[in-house]
């Protein structure tokens, strides 16, 4: 076992390492993989909070992501808002929408929530494609300007790929810290109790609906903000931001990493953000592979890597100690 101080130091070292990457290499491919990892880690972390910890299977995350993207893009281009205000507004709107669909469907059952969240994601794509006067239809909003971030005493023009690397990685670190603080606090314990046994949690004075809505709104906010930042990296927002590809990818990250395992999901996000790209699969084939992985995982490996590690740890802990002579 490693000592406690080393355990606490490792994440800090990891963050420092990630922030050192643009200083070591200016390679745009490496930076693009880093941006993709940062974006997916926030999406999968949010999904893990909702599904892994609270037990709500949500397909709506991609909708929140896209709503954040569209809101930020429209506010910055049409109203001339600064980036941080646009992205925050996108996150807030996503959280509000999340509360509406969560409140209406969770009254019935978790089945209904899963169905409604999927329908919601599909509806988002249809609205983005067909409500031309707001979203400009299938062409989307191309040529988003180079955004400027106004921090206290410093305005930051994001013109180089490395700037976006720092921005998205910085937000990912903040988001992961928030998620970590939530899941290791009383809130996280209550959410886990609701997932494991809702009736028992209720009998202990936990109100399931408010915790579920909290998890959903927080994850929607994070997804919305990261969507608002990510579209400026892409420099375009179009209906493909609601593509099912994002849902499938973040779902596979959570399943492989282990629902309800913070470090497992983070690790799976890192591996799966880089690996398929390095292996150069076509998108269709990658989705077929992801689907097959999902089926196999459900049949033989439902806990993911995180669940497997936890079970192994429990077994070791329960093993009788050999008698010392």
């Amino acid at each position: 076992m490693m000592p406690g101080w080393l355990r606490a130091l490792l994440p800090l070292l990891g963050v420092a390492g990630l922030f050192a990457v643009p200083r070591v290499t200016g390679n745009e491919y490496v930076l693009a993989l880093g941006v993709s990892f940062a974006m997916f880690s926030v999406l999968s972390g949010g999904l893990n909070l909702v599904y892994g910890y609270t037990g709500l299977l949500s397909f709506a995350q991609v909708g929140f992501f896209g709503i954040g993207g569209y809101t930020a893009a429209l506010l910055v281009t049409e109203r001339g808002w600064p980036l941080e205000a646009g992205a925050a507004c996108g996150g807030a709107l996503a959280a509000l929408v999340g509360l509406v669909i969560g409140y209406s469907s969770l009254r019935l059952s978790r089945h209904a929530f899963a169905i409604v969240s999927l329908s919601f994601a599909l509806l988002c794509m249809i609205v983005a494609r067909d409500w031309v006067s707001l979203t400009r239809g299938a062409m989307g909003i191309p040529g988003l300007p180079v955004p400027v971030l106004h921090l206290p005493g410093w305005s930051w023009r994001l013109s180089r790929p490395a700037d976006f690397y720092y921005l998205l990685m910085g937000f990912a670190v903040i988001a992961q810290t928030v998620i970590y603080l939530v899941v290791t606090s009383r809130l996280g314990r209550a959410m886990r109790a609701i997932k494991l046994n809702e009736a028992l949690a209720q009998s202990q004075g936990i109100s399931p609906l408010s915790y579920k809505l909290l998890a959903l709104a927080l994850s929607a906010f994070l997804a919305g903000v990261v969507g608002g930042l990510f579209v400026f990296y892409l420099t375009i927002v179009d209906p493909s931001i609601f593509d099912f590809y994002y849902t499938e990818t973040m779902l596979i990250m959570v399943i492989i990493g282990g629902p309800g395992s913070f470090w497992g999901v983070l690790g799976a996000s890192a591996v799966l953000a880089a690996l398929p790209d390095l292996l150069r699969f076509t998108t269709d084939l990658r989705m077929v592979l992801y689907g097959a992985v999902l089926i196999a995982a459900m049949l033989v490996f439902p806990g993911g890597v995180g669940g497997w590690l936890r079970r192994r740890g429990l077994r070791r802990w329960r093993r009788p100690h050999p008698a010392t002579p």
């Binding site: 599904y51 899963a114 169905i115 329908s119 609205v127 049949l299």
Partner: protein
């Protein structure tokens, strides 16, 4: 705008509603008996339509032969689906079943895109452009056939559920699983048949609609969106409710679609689902909320 125009829209709506009903009833039946929401349901509709396309256009089969073959293949696929994947899930939690069927849907849909590309294909036969004209209303023969097939399937499903022993057993399991087990109903046999019928109906719907709409690998995806709304509106697990909601939705959609842009129609479907959940969570004809 004369009465004939409205009548035309209503009639088109009934046809599409009956086909929605085929897909939604299968979904509802599988949910009622197995408590599994089959996210791959739309893909079997797509496979049915694709198979119908290849049978008519590449093998030169006639309409009725195609419909029979596609339905039979879909029923067999349902058996295989149950035995290979769903049977191992018994009591395994609803997330597992959703994720499993979602994975299946990804494999089928993206596999079809990979093999056949997303190009829409049209099924054209000698009867494709034949219209029936009654007064002001003209309906293509293919739509009439689709309507007839749908009504035939309604009747067959009704006979199975209410006229046979296994149908009664199926309703018994859907109403109260534990009690059904206690009186000696074999849940495996009942579940297997429910999945086979559900998938069969989906395949039949695909074959019936193939000559009316374009066939492409992504068609199941948008179709299942409506089927989900329908089973929520009709009450989860309520088969008759799903049928009524489907026909009503088809008619509303067709009439509204005659005046408003398409996006409003989809928003209307989603909005009515949310409204139903807020006002009457058990659905229009719900038998009480099940959690």
């Amino acid at each position: 705008m004369d009465a004939g125009f409205y009548l035309q829209l209503l009639l088109n709506g009934v046809v599409i509603g009956v086909i929605y009903a085929l897909v939604a009833m299968g979904l509802s039946l599988i949910f009622g008996v197995l408590e599994i929401v089959n996210f791959a349901h739309g893909e079997f509709y797509m496979l049915g339509a694709m198979l119908a396309y290849f049978l008519t256009m590449n093998m030169g089969q006639g309409y009725w032969a195609t419909v029979v073959v596609v339905t039979a293949v879909a029923v067999c696929l349902g058996y295989v689906l149950y035995e290979a994947l769903l049977a191992s899930l018994e009591g395994g939690g609803f997330e597992r079943s959703i994720l499993l069927t979602l994975g299946l849907s990804m494999v089928l849909q993206n596999g079809a895109v990979f093999l056949f590309t997303t190009t829409p294909r049209m099924v054209q036969t000698s009867q494709s452009y034949v219209n029936l004209v009654v007064g002001d209303v003209r309906v293509s023969l293919m739509r009439v056939f689709a309507l007839a097939l749908g009504l035939l399937a309604f009747g067959a499903l009704y006979l199975i559920l209410y006229g046979t022993r296994i149908g009664r057993a199926m309703r018994g399991v859907a109403q109260n699983r534990d009690a059904a087990l206690m009186v000696g109903i074999d849940p495996r046999a009942v579940s297997r048949l429910a999945v086979a019928i559900g998938i069969g109906l989906s395949g039949l719907a695909g074959a019936a609609l193939a000559p009316v709409y374009a066939v492409h690998p992504l068609m199941g995806f948008s179709f299942v969106f409506k089927a989900f709304a329908i089973i929520i509106i009709g009450g989860l697990g309520n088969i008759a409710g799903a049928a009524v909601a489907a026909v009503a939705l088809g008619m509303v959609e067709s009439v509204v679609g005659g005046f408003l842009p398409l996006v409003m129609v989809d928003a209307l479907v989603f909005g009515s689902m949310i409204a139903m959940l807020l006002l009457r969570p058990q659905g229009l004809f719900g038998r009480g909320v099940r959690v």
